[in-house]
Point group: none
Chain length 206, copies 4
DNA sequence: CATGAATGAGACTTCATTCAT
DNA sequence: AATGAATGAAGTCTCATTCAT
């Protein structure tokens, strides 16, 4: 039952985050309402509002990363797997691109304005970022096994290559798909971008 | 005199941001203290705290971008100019890497938790991001003139290439120089990284 | 319990008003202190300070008017009832003569300087003023039943007659009993004034 | 010149009051703007904002009362003069009925929410109220001279009679002409009301 | 004399957290 | 275990007043 309540609180918090509430706008009362529980109950499971938020985000990200790792475990060639991973980035972007981009770049938490949230995230961040690094390494290793790349370079280099490849998708979504600065949407289909991103990986490591 | 006061407020705000205060932690009173003026004076020049912060950040970023553009105007080959630009990223990173990375990626504002700050930044963001795009294009054009790259590709492609190259420096600084996730600092000197970053630009566009 | 807290807030507010605090002088903190509750609690029951004040006044006036109407329902002749009503005006005047006079004259709220208080009072005013008009009509109707007056005139005329009669008491109290402008207190007993006021009613309508 | 500036300040303040700004809403800056002078200049002529407002109101009321007294000095019968006085109440009501009614009733200042305004008004009030009493007495004396009334009663009685007569006009304007509580405007012309008011004077003193 | 930029005391209001039920 | 009424610390912003020019 305890696990159930925590889960409900996570869901409530994430539903607010996904609706683009900024962290400091989120009230404990809102979370309680979303989770269909009393405000006081939250404090039975978390020490503070900041704990709730930082752990909720960690919960979300870990789910995402796990998702992507599962894809690698499935049968199929590297090319298929990696393309599927890239394809799966799109729906994640929709949910909360800033947080997502921030984490995928292993950036310090992308939004750290809430008072002590910053420090709390630091701890969670390390854990999350290690998981992401692990995912990246698995990607690289699989491509090695299949001979897509010849040789495993230094950690920084392979990390940077995967990161750039993924950034290709994220940046396109963030900038072009939303027609933000660039005056008109570059006419690429989703599969075009995945193609580009895949090629960048190969170009940088091949 | 008015310009002077605004300037003082900017400096005060930025000094707080540079000390890693999170935006929502910054109090109007703190800014006033740093600027050596009365609290009320701030409201003579800005409509709200959020205005102060968002405009201060815009002021900082515009200064940075201007700085980098000036380097391009100086005499010297593309290689010299671009390496100098990359070299200049290091001190900027020191100041406030999250904000800086966020903007250089043209990401939506990297930290938008403060209530209406989000909306205020949106307007400033567009302006800033246009400036950054302009800088990137200038870089690409100069490399074209000198024949470093043969042909100017689509906007997304050249934007992505410059961005990746710059990210190389930023990520190294953010992750490795601070020994964050990667257990030990990859043994690269600053000039090594600049070399890497330069090569990425050439590799992706050459 | 909720009713209880609101009641406490009303009492606290009215105790301040009765001590001749002007509305804009009253601080939320003062009200809380008087009501023996926390400042924040007030905002659980009211939306703003102005709401507190305007509703407190409405609460007070409605109580007064109800009081007077109850007197009419009691057994006894018109003369007895009406004199009792007039007699009951004295203690009310003591409490807050300006507010009381203002309302009994159906004047727009007598003190409306507090920012949005004005608008809030307008709504309450209409309700209160309707109640007062109702009281006045009941007075007139009872005097008709007993043949004290022969005929019910136009609404303005009977309204004005009752108003004048009541004003007689109020003005005496306001001016003479407090020796304000008139250099020495006119030597009338309370019962003398009631006699005068009663006669004015008869003179104007009889 | 000094007189001129004070005059300008009065005019500025009154223009704000006439536009139904509540006293506590009026800012010193607004007054300065209306008077076309600097904010600081106001403090050359008045000690505080409250002084400005209370003296401005006193200035307005004294003007009104003087006006009415002048009418009595003109040639013509009592009936003509008094009706003219009553007729002149209408435009005054338009300007600021609450203040006007308050003063004509010799009520303590009708709006006393501004902090120390209350005490300041007290001093001015006495002066104004003495002037009003003087006006009332002149009215009564003129009616005596012409034999409209036979005998001068006690001060309270003649004061109350004139007051009621004037109230007749004011209340009609305040309530009926603005269709406030009374559902439809009683169908009286302005001259009808003046007739009523005149008759009340005669009825109560004749 | 006149000004208006600068000031800072002080008020309202919010909201995370507590705790009696 | 669960609640939500109560709390009060703390922050933003206003505006009367001052004073250097």
């Amino acid at each position: 039952m305890e696990k159930n309540k925590k889960e409900m609180i996570y869901q409530g918090t994430l539903s607010l985050i996904e609706e683009n509430y900024n962290f400091s706008q989120i009230k404990v009362g809102d979370i309680a309402k979303r989770a269909n529980i009393g405000k006081g109950t939250i404090y039975e499971y978390f020490d503070s509002k900041d704990e709730v938020i930082s752990q909720s985000i960690a919960y979300m990200i870990k789910g995402w990363v796990q998702n992507l790792e599962n894809i690698l475990e499935e049968n199929g060639s590297f090319q298929q797997s990696y393309r599927k991973i890239l394809r799966n980035l799109f729906p994640m972007m929709k949910k909360k691109h800033q947080i997502f981009m921030g984490f995928m770049m292993l950036s310090k938490s992308s939004d750290t304005s809430v008072d002590s949230l910053h420090q709390l995230m630091e701890k969670n961040n390390e854990d999350i970022q290690r998981k992401i690094l692990h995912l990246y390494e698995k990607i690289v290793d699989k491509s090695l096994e299949e001979g897509i790349i010849k040789e495993k370079p230094e950690v920084f280099d392979w990390y940077f290559a995967v990161n750039s490849s993924i950034m290709c998708v994220l940046i396109y979504e963030d900038q072009f798909a939303n027609q933000r600065v660039f005056s008109r949407k570059a006419a690429y289909s989703q599969e075009d971008i995945i193609e580009k991103a895949y090629n960048i990986f190969v170009k940088l490591l091949g």
